[in-house]
């Protein structure tokens, strides 16, 4: 244990990078795909055993960067590493015949490195570097299959990701400046809490991380990008990568110091996302899209809570563990759900029912079904969300449940195989298990109380939204109601059309402009030229010279007289 902080933390990010590098070797691509699960192992170890809050300095790197694992970070790291591991296992099988193994392994590992690095960065520069890594290099994962839809999705993703990067960069600059140029994360956060902090810093950070985390209305990339990626990539995107955004908020929001405006805005946006996204998810035709919207919704929940805490000035020590726990649960559960959706085509009759059951349990857990882990983490959050927030969270069970039902309803049918391959099923099961079990394990350690201490009566009473949801679902199934179908990415396509029109107009204008410029170029001034020739002819005459001699002589005399 003595040597671990200096080794494990850097190893957690360097090891995947090494694997990524190996994938570049000619012909090693397929081999590296098989080794995908190896990537997160050091991080997992670090999350488990590395000592907390011990900075590891990396002198000379970037701006003398450092790595540090905090308690919250460890939760995020552990959850992410677990998800990445199992998704890696899944991917190793799922992608084994892929046409571009090297690219997949390369970017998978790099994104992994970035994702894990975000959680263990000790200073903002390092943080930003990893954040950019995970943000941008997820793009190749999104568009891995090169389908037109994926490409479009990727473009949207990239545009927003870059905007987010910039917002974060500027926000971090402002924050760092406010902290007197310090770059340590804690120092920066403290600086943001000061009244002298730049007023734009927090909003920019919220916007930047919000994009990543799918904050309404910056979420548009998420429902198109997540479904576009291959199944394991979708799983990590939705399960782990969005958590980078949440972690960013967790790390930088100046909790403990009431910030009414920013906090309330964040809260409102978050909670509206919670409901709107879920409703939009209801209107999706693809299971993965529904899940993606669900992610938006759930992240809205977290951010709403964070916003509330920010506005209230709640102590970070109270809020953050709850958030982290929620994130852990959601990450694992959502990962499992995506993997499960991926399993659907290969699950035959009996297996399908099993799968459906598993998915339903996960969905219920997400919705906050009592006695499932989801309820546990939600209750932890509710404590930090105030009365109104708690009410909303409770109510959200309804929409979440409906969305999950929709997901099950649109689950793709099985194609050929009747029995899912072990290497695909196992990760699903493992993740499901982890999602349902880990919160119980950690709750006590984090919340300080035992999970079962909650009042059973209130628990049951609060289950009414779920009951309502069940009723609604039953009714809908009974009357054969068909949900309306919205395009993935809701607001996106009209915006895109207008952007296209604008750019076309701009190009046309530019062409016209350059034409008119060309036309207005002055012609050689022939008239003046002829005049000059005539003048020159005069000077060539001897007579002119003689007169000029007299003139100059006179001028000299006159000037001398003056």
């Amino acid at each position: 244990m003595t040597a671990d902080p200096t080794l494990l933390l850097p190893l957690a990010v360097l090891w995947p990078m090494l694997l990524a590098g190996l994938a570049l070797l000619p012909g090693w691509g397929p081999r590296m795909v098989l080794l995908l699960p190896l990537g997160p192992l050091p991080a997992l170890a670090a999350a488990l055993v590395a000592s907390r809050d011990v900075p590891v300095a990396l002198p000379g790197v970037l701006l003398d960067s450092g790595l540090e694992l905090g308690a919250t970070g460890a939760l995020f790291l552990g959850g992410a590493a677990t998800l990445w591991f199992w998704a890696g296992v899944y991917a190793a099988f799922y992608m084994r015949h892929d046409g571009r193994p090297a690219a997949f392994a390369l970017f998978w590992n790099l994104v992994l490195a970035g994702n894990l690095g975000v959680f263990i960065a000790g200073d903002i520069v390092t943080f930003y570097v990893f954040f950019a890594l995970v943000s941008l290099l997820a793009y190749p994962l999104v568009i891995h299959d090169r389908q037109p839809a994926s490409m479009r999705a990727g473009t949207v993703y990239l545009v927003l990701a870059v905007c987010g990067e910039v917002a974060i960069l500027v926000g971090l600059m402002l924050a760092s400046f406010g902290a007197g140029g310090a770059i340590g994360i804690e120092a920066v956060r403290a600086g943001l809490a000061l009244p002298s902090a730049h007023p734009a810093a927090v909003p920019l950070l919220i916007a930047g991380f919000g994009i990543k985390a799918g904050l309404m209305p910056l979420h548009v990339w998420l429902p198109v990008a997540h479904p576009a990626a291959p199944v394991p990539a979708s799983a990590v995107l939705s399960g782990a990568i969005v958590k980078a955004g949440i972690f960013g908020l967790v790390a930088f929001l100046p909790l403990g110091m009431p910030a009414a405006v920013a906090g309330n805005v964040l809260m409102i946006l978050g909670f509206s996302g919670l409901f709107l996204a879920a409703l939009m998810g209801l209107a999706q035709a693809g299971a993965k899209a529904v899940l993606a919207y669900s992610t938006v919704s759930q992240m809205g929940l977290v951010m709403g809570v964070l916003g509330f805490a920010l506005a209230e000035g709640s102590a970070p020590a109270a809020v953050l563990p709850a958030v982290a726990l929620f994130a852990l649960h959601h990450g694992l559960a959502k990962g499992a759900l995506f993997l499960g959706v991926g399993l659907a085509p290969v699950c035959g009759r009996a297996w399908r029912w099993g799968l459906l059951g598993g998915l339903a349990v996960l969905g219920l857990s997400l919705a906050g079904m009592q006695l499932l882990a989801g309820a546990l983490v939600k209750s932890a959050l509710k404590d930090q969300a105030g009365a109104f927030g708690a009410m909303l969270i409770g109510l959200s069970a309804l929409t979440t449940a409906l969305a999950m039902a929709r997901c099950l309803a649109v689950l793709p049918g099985a194609t050929s195989r009747c029995r899912p391959p072990l290497l695909m099923a196992l990760p699903f099961l493992a993740l499901s298990g982890a999602a349902l079990w880990l919160p119980w394990l950690l709750y006590a350690r984090i919340a300080g109380t035992t999970p079962l201490a909650a009042d059973l009566r209130s628990l049951i009473f609060e289950a009414w939204p779920l009951a309502l949801a069940a009723l609604l679902i039953a009714g809908a199934v009974a009357v054969g109601l068909k949900a309306p179908v919205l395009p993935e990415g809701d607001a996106l396509s009209p915006v895109r059309r207008r952007v296209a029109a604008l750019s076309a107009a701009a190009r046309a204008a530019e062409r016209a402009g350059s034409r008119s410029l060309r036309r207005s170029r002055p012609k050689p001034q022939t008239v003046i030229g002829e005049d000059l020739d005539r003048i020159e002819d005069v000077f060539r005459e001897g007579a002119a010279a003689a007169i000029l001699v007299l003139a100059i002589a006179g001028a000299v005399v006159a000037a001398s007289l003056i």
Partner: protein, 324 residues
Amino acid sequence: MTGAFDIILCLMILGAAGIALFVRDALAAIAFFIAFGNLLGLAWLGLDAVNVALAEIALGAGVTGVLLILARARLLALGDDATCADTSAWLRAGALAACAGFVLLLAAAVLSIPPESGLDRAVAPLMPGLGIENRVTGVLLAFRAYDTLLESFVLLGALVAVWSLAPAGVWPGRPADLGVADVPMRRVARSFGRFLLPVALVMAAYLVWAGSDVPGGAFQAGTVLAGGLMVSAIGGAIGLPRSDLPGLRVALVLGPLVFLLIGLAGMGFGGFLVYPEGSAKAAILAIEYSLFLSIGATLALLVAGPNVIGWPDPAGGTDRHSDC
């Protein structure tokens, strides 16, 4: 103070100049120019400047006149009678005003300067050292020998410049025919020339000799020689030489060369153009004689002009004109 002679002479000079400048016919203009030159010679006599008078009459009126006549004749042969188109009245008026103002200014300046022979006093005490009497010669060949040296090169350079004008294909060749007169005239000139040439030579030699003490000198003598040569050439008594004739070249270069060598030799006596003590006169005479030969030859060839096309046989020899 001022004699009437001076004033009348000056008026005549101005009149001659006016006619020479503004008469329409070119030949008349040149004729009056020659007259003008001779009147100027008289004016210089009136100023007691016999050396200059000789030079003016010989060079200013004589050689220049011949040059102009020849040029006019050649132009006429080419269809150009050297009359002038009228210029615009505005130009004339403007020029008149400018020139009148100029004359007034110049006159005022001239009148502000009292005439005096200031440097005569500086020259006089130095003359005995030279062993010659003619002060002008003293100035020319001793005090300002450097000027004169350069000047002799200007003359030679002018000849080279004139030669350089020859059209392609006639080098080395001869200058154009000087024969402006008709055949009987030329015959007269020829016999006259035969007689004149030796006379001119003797006369010129005397002028040089005399030049050290009384008015005269290399330039004037050279002109006389050139005059003799020209008349002889016009008459055909002598043929114009080919420009690459070695003897001719030697004759042309002799004067400046001797001058230069003596100047260089002076460096042995303390500096460039320093004449050795006591032998200044000898040196000056040597320079004068060699210069006079060269100047004669140069002037004659200058008048003759550049080589021209039309000499079918460059090696035609001296009897080119003896056919008549």
